[in-house]
């Protein structure tokens, strides 16, 4: 019985929407804009978050970065305390390898922007990184072809490089890069491997535009004494060893290598990826909140629009309601009839809002080389909000219609 009533009220509601096309379209526009604003912001935030978290993940959760500058956010950054610190040196890596027991791998890395050439092709501002052998144990990257350096090659500083996918595409558009000789700052190097394409990284850490070479070869290309080459020692903890435990050992070992007296503030920073995550968490919360407020107001306006149109609809059809009631229509039928109309109106608005968001994500995918898409959770959220606003804004007009006295209603012009 209820299902029959429901089906019939849906039919009535649909008929009413179709017979007032322009009015229906204008009233659902508010909800469309609101759902579009909220879901678009949530979709963008989700995509940015997953990209950044992916980049942070690739840095490794159990990796500590020994650097001159600490990673921290906020206005109270005492840079004057850090600027006179020494930068991590290659010999410190060798010392740490001897002294630390809690580490699984330790690697050294420097990087600089250089032009890389092959015959008439060149890539400017490619990130050239000089690394020590254990770098592959710390950073996650796969090779699409070729191989990694052997320990002998990294120690002896062979003139060999691994190149990123975008560099390979730019330098060798029609040929296999493996075994070819590229030129970097006047030095020739053989390409022994190509790193698998990673896509854009918002943190700028994609290997696509990088050239990796042994540190002992990089000495000829990069000024190793310069601070601008960002010298970093990467330290990865053994399985089941916490970062805190490893950092305690590292602090002791580094203080002893640098001959720092007890009580003197350490002249190095031990950075963890969790520091970056925390900084971004705050940012994402703020962006999500802004989208929530902007979209919330649009939804509110859209809700009032639907409520208004439903009151007009009830007023217009008072006579009809009276006839329906006098012919035996029950209150629940009248209520469902108007409520279905407002929910349908609102759900249609939500559908168009989600459709617009989907279109924007398709366009965005092509415009920026980043994975962005409408998630199931956001679709559910969009429909939930639109149906909810339909119920809330349509219930009072629908209920007041159901309470009308049939005689009074029929008399109304």
């Amino acid at each position: 019985m209820f299902w029959l009533l429901f089906k019939e009220s849906i039919f009535f509601a649909w008929h009413s929407l179709v017979s007032n096309k322009l009015r229906s379209f204008l009233s659902l526009l508010g909800i469309t804009i609101g759902i579009f604003a909220i879901i678009l912001v949530f979709t963008i935030v989700d995509a940015l978050e997953s990209n950044i978290r992916g980049s942070i993940q690739s840095l490794g959760n159990n990796v500590v970065y020994v650097q001159k500058w600490p990673w921290s956010f906020g206005p109270d950054y005492p840079w004057w305390k850090y600027m006179n610190r020494p930068t991590p040196q290659y010999f410190e890596l060798e010392e740490l390898q001897k002294r630390c027991k809690t580490t699984e791998a330790i690697a050294y890395r420097i990087g600089a922007r250089k032009t890389i050439k092959f015959r008439s092709n060149n890539v400017q501002n490619a990130l050239v990184a000089g690394i020590s052998h254990e770098f592959y144990k710390i950073k996650n990257f796969d090779l699409s072809s070729g191989r990694y350096f052997t320990e002998n090659e990294t120690d002896a500083g062979y003139h060999e490089v691994l190149i990123g996918a975008s560099i390979a595409e730019a330098l060798f558009p029609n040929s296999d890069p493996l075994g070819q000789q590229v030129q970097i700052s006047g030095q020739k190097a053989n390409v022994i491997g190509v790193i698998k394409k990673e896509g854009e990284s918002l943190l700028g850490m994609s290997f696509d535009y990088q050239v990796i070479m042994p540190f002992n070869f990089a000495r000829y290309i990069i000024d190793t004494k310069s601070e601008n080459v960002d010298p970093t020692i990467y330290v990865k903890a053994r399985p089941h060893i916490s970062n805190a435990e490893m950092m305690d050992e590292l602090t002791g070992a580094l203080r002893s290598i640098r001959r720092q007296k007890p009580g003197v503030e350490a002249n190095f920073a031990l950075n963890e990826t969790s520091l970056i995550s925390q900084g971004f968490d705050t940012l994402f919360d703020l962006v999500g909140m802004a989208g929530w407020i902007i979209g919330g107001f649009s939804i509110l306006v859209g809700g009032f629009g639907i409520a208004n149109i439903m009151f007009v609809s009830v007023k217009e059809r008072t006579n009809l309601i009276g006839i329906q009631k006098s012919l035996g229509a029950r209150n629940i039928f009248i209520l469902l009839q108007f409520l279905s109309e407002s929910v349908m109106l609102s759900a249609l608005g939500g559908f168009f809002g989600l459709f617009l968001t989907w279109l924007i994500t398709l366009l965005g995918k092509d415009a920026i080389d980043m994975e962005i898409g409408l998630t199931g959770a956001n679709v559910i959220l969009g429909f939930t909000i639109s149906i909810l606003i339909g119920i809330i804004s349509g219930f009072i007009p629908a209920y007041s219609a159901s309470q009308l006295d049939p005689v009074e209603a029929i008399r109304t012009n």
Partner: protein, 113 residues
């Protein structure tokens, strides 16, 4: 239509205001983080609360029944999602007080839809 006592009017106005403030929470980033279906469940609870207030406004018995269901469902929701801050306790205490007032007037209310 039976005359609605002032206390019920006050409860309804407080209810409408609380719906106005809790509705935006349905699509807040905080609720979204709790799970995919959580905003939908919370949305149903907000809608139930609103409809219950409309029922009370018209001095109907179904308004009280729906108010009680919405109140206990909300309490369970907050407990399950571990959102038991000071606001939760204030809402719970107010809700219980309102419940007693509503039950006191229940017999005088209109039993029809």
């Amino acid at each position: 239509m039976l005359a609605r006592p002032k206390i019920i009017t006050v409860i309804c106005i407080i209810g409408y205001l609380s719906v106005l403030f809790t509705f935006p929470q349905v699509f807040s980033p905080g609720i979204k983080k709790l799970g995919t279906m959580v905003p939908a469940i919370y949305g149903i609870l907000v809608a139930m609360h609103f409809i219950a207030c409309v029922g009370l406004w018209y001095y109907k018995q179904w308004g009280v029944q729906l108010y009680l269901i919405a109140f206990f469902a909300k309490i369970i929701f907050y407990l399950l999602s571990a959102q038991t801050g000071p606001v939760f306790y204030v809402n719970a205490v107010l809700g219980i007080v309102f419940m007693f007032v509503l039950l006191k007037h229940y017999r005088k209310m209109n039993p029809n839809l």
